[in-house]
Amino acid sequence: MRWVTRMDPRSFERIIAANESRLCDQVLRYALERGPARCEASGQEALRSFVAELSRALVQVFLSPYRATIPDADAGHSADPAETFGMAAAQRRRGNGESSAISLEIIKFCRQSCLDLVREQKFPTIEEEETLTLLERFFGRVETVFCAECASLTARASAELVAANALLEREIARHGKTAEALERSERLFHTAIDALAAHIAILDCDGTIMAVNRAWREFADANGFMGDDYGIGSSYLAVCDSATGDDAESARTAARGIRDLLDGSCREFHLEYPCHSPDEQRWFQVRATCLKGFDPACVVVAHDSITEVKRAEEKILSFTRELEDRVRQRTLQLELTNRELEGFCYAVSHDLRAHLARLEGLGRGLFEDYGSNLDSQARHYVERICLISIELRRIIDALLDLSRVTRCELSFRQVNLSNVARSVAEELRMVQPRRRVSVTIAPNIVVRGDPSLLAMVMKHLFGNAWKFTERQQAAEIEFGMTPRHGLNVYYVRDNGVGFDMRYAGRLFQPFQRLHSPGEFEGVGVGLATVQRIIQRHGGRIWAEGEMGRGATFYFALHS
């Protein structure tokens, strides 16, 4: 190689060494301009040392006997000093974590700087050319090594990138699914609350509205709501706190309730409140519930229209009031009627009876004082007049009894019906001592009722039994108790003439008789009176019988 001999290697070394710091500054500036270099002190130092390394290697190669052996960049050569340096430098830089791509850039920059430097020195053309060739070759080899390093690094990096990409794609797919599920759940949530008729708002832990449903939006639209986005994002509590007018009190109560929910002092709260529009009376119920499992707390506020319920309630109330009024009026009327009736009864009792008593007394007087002067026909007339007036008085007395048992106040006490039955039977025996009647009375039958009225019941039932057994040779009367349908049923049974069950319904009607008047005495009001008394005790009376085979009267009290 000719040029090698002509070139003074020392002068080249000098040039390179003298310009090393200039080169370094240029590299740094370049690196800063291009941006990839780390600009902190350690990065700058690394660049500086790399430039120095390059310079040293260049000078070394230039001075070494092997300089002529540096082949073209394209030619393969194993024991080439430039390549040896390049490999070592690349390895070092890799070990230090420097980027081989940046190193390659810097190498390219240094090559250009060195070529420019040599050209600036104005060497003789031949020398310049040789030096330039040598430089080209040196840098070409080093670049080749760094290129290979870069390529291998890139391949590794790209493999890593592919793997990372795949991972990322998997992640994205997974997130995609999650996002889809999330969106679905969100849609479900909105559809669900939209389907509800209540006006719903969901509040966060500060009382700020996070979501509302369709009913809420429609109500806001219909009532000229002025705020933004149906109140979403604004504070529900602040709205309640600042309410004025008729609604202020219920709004503040609602705010208190929601605050209690949010601070955990209660779990649910509800309030009914009026919310009248200018042309409609309306009522709502607000129900606020703290959602479980949310931290911080979350509250659902649901407003339900209860206008229909309220209207119905008011209607019922007004009906009730009207009814009460009517009942009051009727009661008043009834009281008046009752007083009239009482007056009438008193008049009948006193006046009618008084006249009848006179008729009876005068008739008896006529009979007793002048009977002997009358013929038998006349005596019969007088006798009939007396008997009929007595009969009439009895009828009136029986009717008055009937009306009295309907009107009088009951006083409830324990009544021993067995004892009552015994004394009634004794009285009957005293009136007709000659009759042979076997009376059986079950002992200790005690009931609760009005003593005088129940005595009247026993008197009538025993009286009837006594009367309708009078044709019996061996009359039998029995008083007892038998359970029936879970009730105590009392009965008076006789073996008298009995009755036809077809007419059983007429037994308890006043003046309805199942026997002809001449057959048995009595005015025909007794059983009607008995039935009234039993009814006034909340009970029931019925009879069973058969013609010629006796009758049984059953009664139950307080059924």
Binding site: Y346, S349, H350, R353, A354, A357, R358, G361, R364, G365
Partner: protein, 139 residues
């Protein structure tokens, strides 16, 4: 025959006639009749002279109707019972009312008996005998 004085307080002439007849049949014909409550009280307290116009005498017993003009029977009873001069005179009520309220009020005011019309002389004698107010027998 004991001619004990009896005061009959009765406004109705038929009833008066029947009562007097019933008493007479039992031999009791010393009877003063007052036609209303006012007359009865005036007689008993000596401020008037109904009937035969003589000085007031304390009757052995009184037959008292309830439904009377001016002062009714219950009122008369109340006045008698509240005055020591008349408080002990036996009273038999003769009424055509069988009303429970009349009966109970009369018994509260301490009547000897309560009879419903028509009056039976025998019944009156029975009552007087039971109360040991009679020391003569009927004819």
């Amino acid at each position: 025959m004991d001619k004990k004085l009896i005061l009959l307080v009765e406004d109705n002439p038929d009833d008066e006639f029947l009562a007097l007849r019933a008493l007479r049949r039992q031999g009791m014909d010393n009877v003063v009749v007052a036609r209303d409550g006012e007359e009865a009280l005036a007689y008993l307290f000596g401020t008037g002279s109904p009937g035969n116009g003589g000085a007031p005498l304390e009757p052995a017993f009184i037959l008292l109707d309830l439904k009377l003009p001016k002062i009714n029977g219950i009122e008369v009873l109340r006045v008698l019972r509240n005055d020591e001069r008349t408080g002990r005179i036996p009273v038999i009520v003769i009424s055509s009312s069988r009303e429970e309220c009349d009966l109970s009020r009369c018994h509260e005011l301490g009547v000897l008996s309560y009879l419903t019309k028509p009056v039976d002389g025998g019944e009156i004698v029975d009552i007087l005998e039971k109360a040991r107010l009679l020391n003569y027998s009927a004819p």
